[in-house]
């Protein structure tokens, strides 16, 4: 059997209907970003001196990066646990992570009051190693760079294989007077191609060291995202304020990462009309309960140790959110213990969704719901504030959509399952993206509802 390419581009148009819908949402979001820079953060958000961090930090940074941990979780599986059969999943996971982290960084720049001073992160005399935020900031910046480096092979392959159709179209469209000479252009493009061909094998040789860095960095900053709230000992409810916050956040992002990888695969298989990768998925799903059970045990053990079990069960506002978070994760994991359910795409989808929801609710609980700065302070996000977050999520999906069309990212379907005609695949693809979008939006909606 001839060895086929592992990844392929998505055939089809970029400028579809969903593209323009997403673009509109992005533009609305960016309009409010503009307002924020002209009139101040208070003009678009409901944040206050009591709740200085709103949904931009809670969703885009703390929760968004956990959802973007698919790349991290799959990389652990493939490179550390040595399960090369999952390798086809890795590029799309890395791409999602790249957008997730890049846009988390972007929303931080929207959220920062004095972003022009952010260069101080690179000045050693200003470094403040006691601050968990310093650690998170440097790690997230480094990790975003690493993700881009991990993605470069896809871009190089695309350059190497490109017939420069779009480029030639643009050239022909230009007025002959300003258009570059065909031959000169072709020579230059050939040089770019050769450059890419020269760089690719060299990059591939050292890539593993970046990949491992891409495993180390999230381990550090995902735990530090938990450490951020350690200082708020008087404000964060005792159900969540514990010395184990870093460990809980780390475990939390790992099981969210696997659950998201399962969801992504099921959704794309469903919409591409491809055979479900049940072997891989049930293997992946078999790992999740181990992580969640450790997480649940640490949560219970810690509550018992600090004598807070009654607070968890007394049925008040905080207790109900705690129970919701706990039961969602527990129910999702319980389902995955049954081998029969692990082999059913429907049940896999349900349990992974429960786990993602519960895991994200945990982060909302720590950052917003369990956070009480004192009497008289209230927070619920404003419309403009929500639209900025929605716009950023839309930009994420838009970028993903464009990238999978431009670069070989998705697993090559020709090697798997029943052969499909290309045309049906194209039609189904658009549907797949729409589904992705609805899932992300549903998550956001659920998250916002949780705030109520």
């Amino acid at each position: 059997m001839a060895q086929s390419e592992e990844f392929q581009k998505l055939e089809g148009k970029i400028f579809t209907k969903s593209f323009f819908i997403l673009l509109t949402v992005v533009l609305i979001g960016f309009f409010f970003v503009g307002v924020r820079y002209v009139k101040g953060i208070g003009a678009v958000s409901n944040m206050s001196d009591g709740y200085p961090w709103g949904i931009w930090i809670t969703y885009d940074v703390a929760t968004g990066t956990a959802i973007a941990c698919g790349g991290y979780a799959v990389a652990i599986l493939v490179y550390i646990r040595n399960r090369m059969q999952y390798h086809p999943l890795i590029r799309s996971a890395i791409l999602t992570s790249m957008f997730g982290y890049g846009l988390a960084g972007f929303s931080v720049m929207v959220d920062l009051g004095r972003p022009w001073n952010a260069y101080n992160f690179f000045i050693p005399s200003k470094w403040q190693a006691n601050s968990a935020m310093f650690e998170v900031a440097l790690c997230v910046m480094a990790y975003s760079t690493v993700l881009i480096i991990e993605f470069i092979p896809a871009i190089l392959t695309a350059i190497e294989k490109s017939k420069w159709e779009r480029m030639n179209l643009v050239r022909n469209w230009l007025h002959p007077r300003i258009a570059p000479d065909q031959k000169t252009m072709n020579d230059k493009l050939e040089m770019v191609r050769l450059g890419a061909a020269w760089l690719k094998p060299r990059l591939n040789k050292v890539l593993i060291f970046f990949i491992v860095l891409g495993i180390t960095l999230p381990t550090m900053h995902q735990s530090s995202l938990g450490s951020l709230l350690l200082i708020a000992s008087t404000k964060l409810h005792p159900l969540w304020h514990t010395g184990f916050l870093p460990l809980l956040f780390l475990l939390n992002c790992i099981f969210i990462g696997y659950a998201i990888a399962i969801l992504e695969s099921i959704i794309s298989c469903y919409s591409f009309g491809r055979r479900y990768e049940i072997e891989e998925l049930s293997g992946l799903a078999g790992l999740v309960p181990f992580v969640t059970v450790i997480w649940l045990c640490v949560v219970i053990g810690d509550l018992a140790y600090r004598g807070q079990v009654s607070a968890a069960l007394n049925g008040d506002f905080y207790s109900s959110y705690f129970m919701a978070e706990f039961l969602l994760v527990a129910a999702g994991s319980l389902l995955l213990f049954f081998k029969k359910l692990r082999r059913s795409p429907r049940w896999l989808f349900i349990s992974a969704s429960l786990i993602v929801l519960g895991g994200c609710l945990y982060r909302f609980n720590v950052y917003l719901i369990g956070f009480n700065p004192g009497k008289g302070w209230r927070y619920f996000p404003s419309f403009a504030e929500v639209m900025i977050t929605v716009g950023i999520v839309a930009l994420e999906i838009l970028g993903y959509k464009v990238f999978v069309a431009l670069f070989p990212v998705l697993p090559n379907t020709s090697g798997h399952g029943p052969q499909q005609q290309k045309k049906t695949v194209v039609v189904e693809n658009a549907k797949g993206i729409d589904l992705n979008q609805t899932v992300a939006q549903a998550q956001l909606k659920a998250a916002i509802n949780n705030l109520n």
Partner: protein, 310 residues
């Protein structure tokens, strides 16, 4: 091969989580706490002597207007712009007098401003050292030229002191700096303490203020709640309070003697001590990953070869 790598992975995972667990457990042990430095500058506010004239508030705005852009605040009822009526500490107001009323006979004024902690949370969390604690004077100072506006100091401060200018396009954090660049430099005393007509605000070194407060408690035990707020709260503060009412009723939160920053720094330091753990993690992972890759090299070389032929 596969089994080997899994064993490695499990070992590693075990070691990492054991380390994290250890640090979590370590954090719950009792801490020695830092020594309190009683030579630092501070203020003693005696609520029983305060008459609520708010001279301190206007003096603060007059003196510090160049350092923190303290503008006058219009209240919602004030259509003619006749009042300076901040409802709370804010991006325009560093110090504030409030009046707590239990009934017609029992009431107390209370002054809010930075507590100038011995172990300040805001300094501990600021990622770019924009919040600093001066070595000798102990003043917790803010440098707007370094601040990135992340507002972590606001999240961290148990007294909710640092305030952000939400309505400005170029905002900054606003908090009391004991008139470090203004009145203290010129006259050696903070503006609020200088203008206080009844001596309700006393400026001085923490040790002296503490002795004075203890003496007042001793001579008038009937007048005061038998507690000096700030003596032990959150690792001790340089701004001390005496009052006739329970402090939590005056809006001063109950805070444990251990500084919140002690707790968080201990965990952060345990994880990142000498940067050993991250480096060890990276090397261990590299070892495993490279070993795994080697196992697949033959397979991949074939694949590459066939790709080229194509």
């Amino acid at each position: 091969m596969k089994r080997q790598s899994r064993r490695n992975f499990l070992k590693l995972a075990g070691a990492t989580s054991a380390g994290l667990l250890a640090c979590g457990a370590g954090s719950s042990l009792a801490s020695q706490g830092p020594q309190i430095n009683n030579e630092e500058l501070g203020m003693l506010y005696d609520a029983t002597q305060c008459v609520g004239c708010k001279a301190c508030m206007s003096a603060c705005k007059r003196v510090n207007s160049d350092y923190g852009s303290l503008s006058y605040e219009k209240a919602s009822f004030d259509s003619d712009g006749l009042w300076d009526a901040p409802s709370d500490l804010s991006g325009s107001t560093r110090t504030l007098i409030k009046l707590f009323k239990e009934d017609d006979a029992r009431w107390s004024y209370v002054k809010y401003s930075c507590m100038h902690c011995q172990k300040p949370s805001c300094v501990s969390v600021c990622p770019v050292s924009a919040m600093t604690k001066e070595q000798v004077s102990g003043i917790v100072d803010y440098n707007k030229n370094t601040c990135i506006g992340c507002r972590y100091c606001q999240v961290a401060c148990p007294y909710n002191i640092p305030k952000f200018q939400w309505e400005k396009a170029l905002p900054q954090i606003v908090k009391c700096d004991l008139c470090k660049n203004t009145n203290l430099r010129q006259k050696g005393i903070s503006a609020c303490a200088e203008v206080c007509p009844t001596g309700a605000i006393k400026f001085g070194k923490r040790g002296e203020l503490l002795r004075d407060a203890q003496a007042r408690l001793k001579s008038h035990p009937d007048k005061y709640i038998a507690h000096i707020y700030g003596e032990h709260e959150g690792g001790g503060t340089n701004h001390l309070y005496l009052a006739s009412m329970p402090f939590n009723k005056l809006g001063l939160p109950e805070i444990k003697p251990e500084a919140p920053a002690e707790f968080s720094e201990k965990i952060q330091h345990t994880i990142y001590k000498g940067f050993i753990a991250p480096v060890a993690l990276y090397s261990a992972l590299c070892f495993i990953a490279v070993k795994n890759m080697k196992g697949h090299k033959g397979h991949e070389a074939d694949a590459d070869h066939e790709k080229e032929e194509k």
